[in-house]
């Protein structure tokens, strides 16, 4: 089959569509797929400091970088930490967002715009400034966190200096810093839950908790899927919080995969190896997202 020589309506429409899509498609091609393919090629070479000075010093190493990563304790350590960020930090963040959204959206709450703005403020505050304040909060001897815990007789914790506590400390900061974004999405979702459903449920004698489970949550399902997928992906890529607070320490206990990648790529200039780490992280995120989508799809069918 071929289009008529004069160009039928369908063909003209298709051409117009193509032309309209072309600019953004070209941009995506050049600025997204181009670098991705280049990165893939890079991950198969040992491109490093020497190769920046003299390109002929780069060698093709096949899957060598991937094998090296899978054999390196540092990689597994960072993967473990990244999984904690993603599967402890992200659910925590979503839960806090949802709880805060319910409070903000509650019928009895006054000054809603004010609370929305307050909760959103950390999202738009510069992380470096936030980090300075949080470092004071976490300061072992004079910090507010320890002073508060001390009132309940809890002994002082060296939040950022103790390998066991640094990870929870970073998670606390990350959750506080980011929950406001999802809060706004949840609030928008909550406003779309029809009032009649709540009223009907109330007439049937449902308690607040029952209404939450039976009315609010099911109606929020699409929003919930979007929020949880993007949040998990964001937490997989957590970088700035540990970078400014601990630089991955102490004893690499907060060293996320992206931080490891950054260190290998831009501190030691092993760009080939860092590119391989990037693709491994991509594979991990892809797998985790696929699992999430499948779980949610099954839930909806059930």
């Amino acid at each position: 089959m071929s289009a008529p020589a004069g160009g039928g309506l369908a063909w003209r429409q298709a051409r117009a569509g193509l032309l309209l899509a072309l600019p953004s498609a070209a941009l995506i091609l050049v600025f997204f797929f181009g670098p991705v393919l280049y990165g893939l090629w890079l991950s198969l070479t040992d491109f490093d400091l020497y190769a920046i000075g003299d390109p002929s010093a780069a060698r093709f190493v096949g899957l060598g970088n991937y094998a090296q990563a899978l054999g390196a304790p540092d990689f597994w350590n960072s993967l473990r930490i990244t999984l904690v960020y993603a599967f402890v930090g992200a659910p925590l963040s979503v839960a806090v967002s949802l709880a805060a959204a319910l409070l903000v959206d509650a019928r009895t709450t006054r000054w809603k715009p004010f609370f929305r703005a307050v909760y959103f403020a950390p999202v738009v505050t510069t992380l470096v400034a936030v980090a300075i304040v949080w470092r004071y909060l976490y300061q072992p001897q004079y910090g507010l966190v320890n002073a508060f815990l001390g009132r309940f007789g809890i002994p002082h914790v060296d939040w950022l200096g103790d390998p066991h506590w640094a990870l929870p400390a970073i998670l606390g900061l990350a959750v506080w810093k980011n929950f406001g974004y999802n809060l706004l999405i949840f609030v928008a979702g909550l406003q779309n839950v029809p009032r009649e459903l709540h009223e009907a449920a109330e007439l049937d004698g449902a308690s607040g908790w029952q209404r939450f489970w039976a009315v609010t949550l099911p109606d929020l399902a699409p929003v919930f899927l979007f929020v949880s997928v993007t949040t998990v992906i964001n937490y997989f890529q957590l970088f700035a919080e540990p970078y400014v607070m601990t630089q991955g320490g102490p004893l690499k206990s907060t060293n996320s995969l992206v931080l490891l990648m950054y260190e290998q790529g831009f501190r030691w200039w092993r760009l080939g190896y860092a590119a391989a780490l990037a693709f491994l992280l991509f594979a991990v995120i892809l797998a985790a997202t696929a699992v999430q989508m499948r779980l949610q799809a099954r839930e909806r069918r059930a």
Partner: protein, 384 residues
């Protein structure tokens, strides 16, 4: 800095210098990005441990043609420091200010243990540390286990080259380094030094004041910090001393900052004029007065204020005996591995010999690229 540049511009009316200051912690990344983006300045200050990295990146202009005109030469500077600017026989930087490490200690605690001054040999030093420990029941010295300085400096003192075969293999299992390593690890095993890193201690000045330890190994910026942070009662009690060595006064590491010309510079002559200006002894002294950074040029040390302060003088003495760390771009990472392995031995996870064998294995793997480049280079030389 602005003050020095103003004087330079007054002296050279045709030259305008625009100075951009960047925080030290961001400098390395910023300069590398500038190199890749082709926006490096004409002239810059570079930590001398970065010279090999930027040299390998071909970001630096060789200075030998400029040096050949006379004016500046190695003999005017501390030799060990100058050598940190030379890569494969080519000079890429002129030392601007220097940094080295030595002992800061409390004279009263040493005196209480029966010592009027710091011993100069490892053996004497070891005895002194033991005496302090016996006397006080506390630690004698603070050597942070997450810092490479001490295990590296002791290695240099024992005569270890750290790397062998033109910087292509680790030399940590060889007798020289092994001797230093066993000495270092022993200080912790004997409880003369606490097995903790610097972030496990809230305030080292406070701990020194309390007598948790009597000395530490650190650098020239501490002269100002000690004066500021120690209480008045201790101001007459703290002192500095050059590093002891295996058999007499020991070497320390050659650090500091250099002035370099970047390869892409369009004004090499003007930039070089500024290097010469900043390297004059009187400008070096002025810079020291303004910032506290120690001058790299020997003549500057003849200045009375520099040599009259006994604590600063220890640095002048130590600077006569400095050795550069290996000039390979991988050095910073290798140094990290050194203290990681030392930490394992200190905590008794593995015996020292195993730690050193592991260290050599790790370092050899890091340097694989250099071996390949050396072979390729040799093959190329044979062909031509």
């Amino acid at each position: 800095m602005g003050e020095l540049v103003r004087d330079f511009e007054r002296e050279h009316p045709g030259i305008h210098v625009s100075v951009q200051q960047i925080p030290w912690t961001a400098a390395h990344e910023k300069l590398l990005t500038a190199h890749v983006g082709g926006s490096l300045p004409d002239l810059g200050q570079l930590g001398n441990s970065w010279i090999s990295e930027f040299g390998t990146l071909r970001a630096l202009a060789p200075l030998d043609p400029w040096l050949a005109r006379g004016g500046l030469s190695r003999s005017a500077f501390f030799g060990g420091i100058w050598d940190t600017n030379v890569l494969d026989g080519v000079t890429y930087g002129v030392p601007w200010y220097v940094d080295t490490r030595l002992l800061f200690y409390r004279r009263d605690l040493l005196a209480r243990a029966g010592y009027q001054s710091m011993p100069t040999t490892w053996e004497g030093w070891h005895e002194c540390l033991r005496a302090i420990h016996r006397r006080s029941g506390r630690f004698a010295i603070f050597l942070p286990t997450n810092e490479w300085m001490s295990p590296v400096v002791l290695g240099l003192q024992a005569g270890s080259p750290l790397l062998a075969d033109g910087g292509t293999r680790g030399a940590f299992r060889e007798p020289a380094y092994r001797r230093a390593f066993e000495f270092y690890v022993g200080l912790f095993r004997e409880h003369l030094a606490p097995a903790i890193g610097f972030n496990e201690i809230a305030n080292k000045y406070q701990e020194l004041e309390r007598g948790t330890f009597a000395m530490m190994v650190t650098g020239p910026w501490e002269l100002g910090e000690f004066a500021r942070r120690l209480p008045d009662s201790l101001q007459t009690q703290w002192a500095t001393a050059a590093m002891p060595g295996p058999d007499g006064p020991g070497v320390s590491f050659a650090g500091g900052s250099s002035l370099v010309l970047f390869r892409g510079t369009k004004h090499p002559a003007e930039a070089w004029a500024l290097v010469e200006f900043l390297s004059r002894p009187e400008q070096q002294v002025r810079f020291w007065r303004l910032t506290g950074d120690l001058p790299a040029r020997r003549e500057a040390w003849a200045d009375t204020t520099l040599s009259s302060d006994v604590r600063t003088r220890a640095f002048g003495e130590q600077l006569q005996r400095t050795v550069p760390c290996p000039m390979v771009p991988e050095w910073e990472e290798i140094a990290t591995r050194v203290y990681e392995q030392a930490d394992r031995a200190i905590r008794g996870v593995v015996p020292p010999d195993t730690a050193l064998a592991d260290l050599d294995r790790i370092v050899d793997r890091l340097l694989e690229k250099r071996r390949w480049l050396a072979t390729r280079h040799a093959a190329g030389a044979r062909r031509s």
